[in-house]
Amino acid sequence: MSTTDKDIRKMERSVRLMTWMAARSSRNQTFIDRLCRKLVERATVVAPEDDFMRDPLIDNDQGFDPDELDRYQRGEQAIG
């Protein structure tokens, strides 16, 4: 394998930092949490032209109307 022991130690520290930031970012309650979320967002954002996760089905989903879902569940209405 090509990676040196020093590289691995560096990566270990990086993973610990990333995990700490991910935990704070997920909690998103304190000032530090929110700062972490901004940093994580900035670090992970992909330019739209390179964004392999873009998908019209997902991005254009409008969800459902609650009353329609009620009627659908009762068998009174089909939802298109």
């Binding site: 991910a22 997920s26 994580v40 019209p56 659908y72």
Partner: protein, 763 residues
């Protein structure tokens, strides 16, 4: 879900990255989707007490992990055919005649009948089949109750999908590793093909890694979409994965590309392994795999030198006659290249110390050894049974702090085929009561004719289900199950990873639908053992499990995720959780069980001229997970009929055309499907779709909503040539078959759509 609107990228540039404003009348809940088994963290928007939209998480670490099955769930779970009240069979088994009863009456009768089965035949006469992460709120309670009652006969689809991989990984280094996609430099996909709408997070991680410059190697007979994006695609013969890995080892060992220090200090059996590998010179590997020797060598060098590399879990090696050797070889490659428990490699995470894990809930220690040794299948195929896993109790306690580790719920299972034989009256003792939860067992294991016979031979069958599946149609009771929108969930990442995630309850379940927690609580109450599930509510149970975090459920659930501090190379302190404390390239446990301690390759039996083709199954279509979601119109619009794939040349040789209805047949059975011709398919190989039935078709015995026409489990053999020796799981990757045009009943073949692209990848 509205139909896909015309897509203008300008409209949504970065829209998903913006914190969403609070909308009037809409509340949001952080949820974990259970539409498949990868558990995406998503957001549910709630209006008037209903989840009306499921969207991607606002949390950037989970961004975009959502697929078509997730966004359609509010409608799928509101389907008018959802079972909302307990149903009791009133006609003959499978007659389709039911009466609505109360939960209390159902539980009282179930417990009376279960007690009688246990009194007449012993506790081992009760078997349970489930996939715990689909039911989600089982949390090991089923195993806990079975262990106290005395039955070892718990089975699951994870016997041939991830759970068995977890159990077999323990033979090499004591735990089931998870690849570090964030830091890896090379990913090897062995037939697995995560896509935008199928195993979405893994697709996201792989694409992200590739965007950062990581290499991708794909082994797949098909030219899949992953193969099209790969740096190296090895189009190997179906079922030859083990031979391919021997070829890689030959290159890596001969060229001394392995981590010599790690091998010297932390492995046993290297010299024996080397001798076994020498049985696979490149010419032999090329012949067995059908791949160019230079490409094989190039891929092996890339894996060994571009690292840290990962070989993520794949279902392909879970489902073949060489499964144990295949899973072991993956572990051996990871180990000798020095990729185990390092960043960018394969992490051995262990338990999260702040959470009471599900293995602890299961209480395997209370099941007497005498009962453990009765576990069906454990005599002939012990690998993932109590007998096969027992040697890891001491090492596991030394390294991970407790004797039992039911990783991915795959350790300590009975063997499915042996269980169904016992249920059918062909086993070493009778099994007469069968429960299944969030599971469609008739179609989810090999040899469906045997499973059908087994179910028809039961005194009591109880299903906990959302819909009237073909299996539920054969039950005595069908009890209505809740869904992931309708209850909280503490997700311990399959007991595989140390991270724990949380899902809020977003709406009330319809009718009388109840969680698996409530199901088991009802069962223990009726069995006069209420002390086995002493918590009043699911939230109380979670409070008990998370007490060491110092938080209550209502606080912790808001944080979405709870990490254990990452640690690497822990083996330097504790050794590996194997009997030797080292990576066992030559397995002492397999040797003790009477098997070859080194990986080996069993070639296919001689070809039967009546069945000149080979089929593989187990593939999920984007709109469906396993046997689910066929009731949702939008998903069926994408996949209206089951389709097999053939190459054009093979289709011609079979005398069949695009769009035509065909039969796929072998010695076990026959299914019907439409033909799609794909240039991405190799010749003589048939892709059979998994899990097909049609909820709109006639229910009951003799019909089973089309399962008898379409279910691939009718083609999946479980005779000795088609079982892995150590585990007893079936070979689904290269089963002999033939394809014939449908001659009778003949729904007029639809005219082939000449505009249909045939150059797309074969998914």
């Amino acid at each position: 879900m509205p139909a896909a609107a015309p897509f203008n990228p300008e409209d949504i540039v970065n829209a998903k990255y913006t914190e969403r404003p609070v909308k009037e009348g809409i509340t949001t809940k952080n949820l974990i989707c259970a539409s498949c088994d990868i558990a995406c963290q998503v957001v549910g928007e709630v209006q008037k007490g209903r989840v009306t939209k499921v969207r991607s998480s606002d949390n950037p670490i989970f961004r975009d992990n959502i697929c078509m099955k997730g966004i359609i769930a509010p409608k799928g779970m509101a389907h008018p055919s959802r079972i909302q009240h307990p149903l009791k069979r009133v006609g003959e088994r499978g007659s389709g005649k039911w009466e609505q009863v109360s939960w209390e009456d159902a539980m009282a009768d179930i417990s009376t009948r279960l007690k009688k089965v246990i009194a007449d035949h012993g506790p081992e006469a009760w078997a349970v089949s489930t996939s715990q992460w689909n039911t989600a709120t089982d949390h090991g309670l089923g195993r806990r109750i079975m262990n106290h009652v005395g039955s070892p006969n718990w089975i699951s689809g994870v016997a041939l999908c991830a759970g068995n991989t977890a159990a077999v990984n323990r033979f090499t280094y004591g735990w089931f590793p998870i690849g570090d996609f964030n830091n890896t430099k090379c990913i090897v996909l062995m037939g697995h093909n995560p896509r935008r709408h199928s195993w979405t997070p893994m697709y996201n991680w792989i694409r992200g890694a590739q965007a950062r410059g990581a290499k991708l190697i794909v082994m797949d007979p098909r030219r899949s979409s992953s193969a099209e994006r790969a740096d190296i695609w090895l189009p190997l013969k179906v079922g030859s994965d083990v031979a391919m890995m021997f070829g890689w080892l030959k290159v890596i060992i001969d060229e001394e590309l392995y981590d010599k220090e790690f091998v010297k200090n932390w492995t046993i059996g290297f010299e024996d392994l080397k001798k076994r590998v020498d049985e696979f010179p490149m010419e032999r590997v090329a012949k067995l795999t059908g791949c160019d020797p230079e490409m094989i060598a190039k891929a092996a060098r890339m894996y060994a030198t571009e690292g840290p590399s990962i070989i993520p879990w794949t279902p392909i090696t879970d489902m073949q006659r060489n499964s144990t050797s295949g899973i072991r070889l993956q572990g051996i490659l990871r180990s000798i290249c020095g990729y185990v428990d390092v960043p960018g490699g394969e992490m051995l995470q262990g338990f999260n110390p702040d959470i009471i894990n599900e293995t602890e809930i299961e209480m395997h220690e209370v099941l007497p050894l005498e009962q453990k040794l009765k576990q069906l299948g454990s005599k002939d195929h012990p690998a993932f049974t109590y007998r096969g896993q027992r040697a890891f109790n001491e090492p596991n306690k030394r390294v991970y702090g407790q004797e039992y580790a039911n990783i991915a719920t795959g350790s300590y299972m009975a063997t499915p085929s042996a269980t169904f034989r016992a249920m059918a009256g062909e086993g070493e003792y009778p099994v007469k009561a069968f429960f299944f939860l969030g599971n469609n067992p008739l179609m989810s294991y090999a040899n469906m004719p045997l499973i059908h016979k087994a179910m028809m031979n039961q005194d009591l069958i109880v299903a906990h289900e959302q819909f009237m599946t073909p299996s539920a149609q054969l039950a005595d009771y069908v009890l209505p199950a809740d869904s992931w929108l309708e209850r909280p969930w503490l997700h311990e990442m399959f007991g595989w990873m140390s991270t724990v995630r949380f899902s809020e309850k977003a709406m009330d379940p319809p009718g009388e639908c109840r969680s698996t927690f409530e199901f088991w609580k009802g069962i223990v109450g009726a069995l006069d053992r209420p002390e086995l599930v002493p918590w009043d509510t699911l939230e109380d149970f979670y409070d008990y499990r998370i007490a060491r975090t110092g938080m209550k459920w209502e606080e912790l659930v808001k944080t979405q995720v709870y990490f254990k501090k990452p640690a690497f190379r822990q083996y330097e302190k504790t050794g590996f959780a194997t009997p030797s404390g080292k990576v066992e390239l030559k397995s002492s446990v397999l040797e003790e069980l009477g098997f070859d301690p080194l990986p080996y390759f069993r070639e296919d039996p001689p070809q039967d001229p009546d069945y000149p083709l080979k089929m593989f199954t187990g593939v999920r279509e984007d709109g469906f997970f396993q046997t689910a979601q066929r009731h949702i119109p939008e998903m069926r619009a994408r996949h209206p009929e089951p389709e097999i794939f053939l190459s054009e040349k093979t289709a011609k040789a079979c005398g069949v055309e695009e769009g035509q209805w065909v039969h796929v047949e072998n010695e076990l059975g026959r299914i019907k499907a439409k033909l799609a011709i794909k240039d991405a398919m190799p010749d003589d190989l048939v892709r059979v779709p998994h899990g097909w039935w049609k909820p709109e078709m006639q229910q009951g015995k003799g019909h089973l909503s089309g399962a008898l026409d379409y279910s691939d489990a009718q083609l999946c053999r479980d005779d000795p040539d088609f079982l892995d020796r150590e585990q007893g799981i079936p070979h689904l990757k290269g089963v002999p078959c033939r394809v014939m045009p449908v001659m009778e009943e003949a729904p007029a073949p639809e005219k082939a759509d000449v505009s249909r692209p045939v150059t797309e990848p074969a998914e």
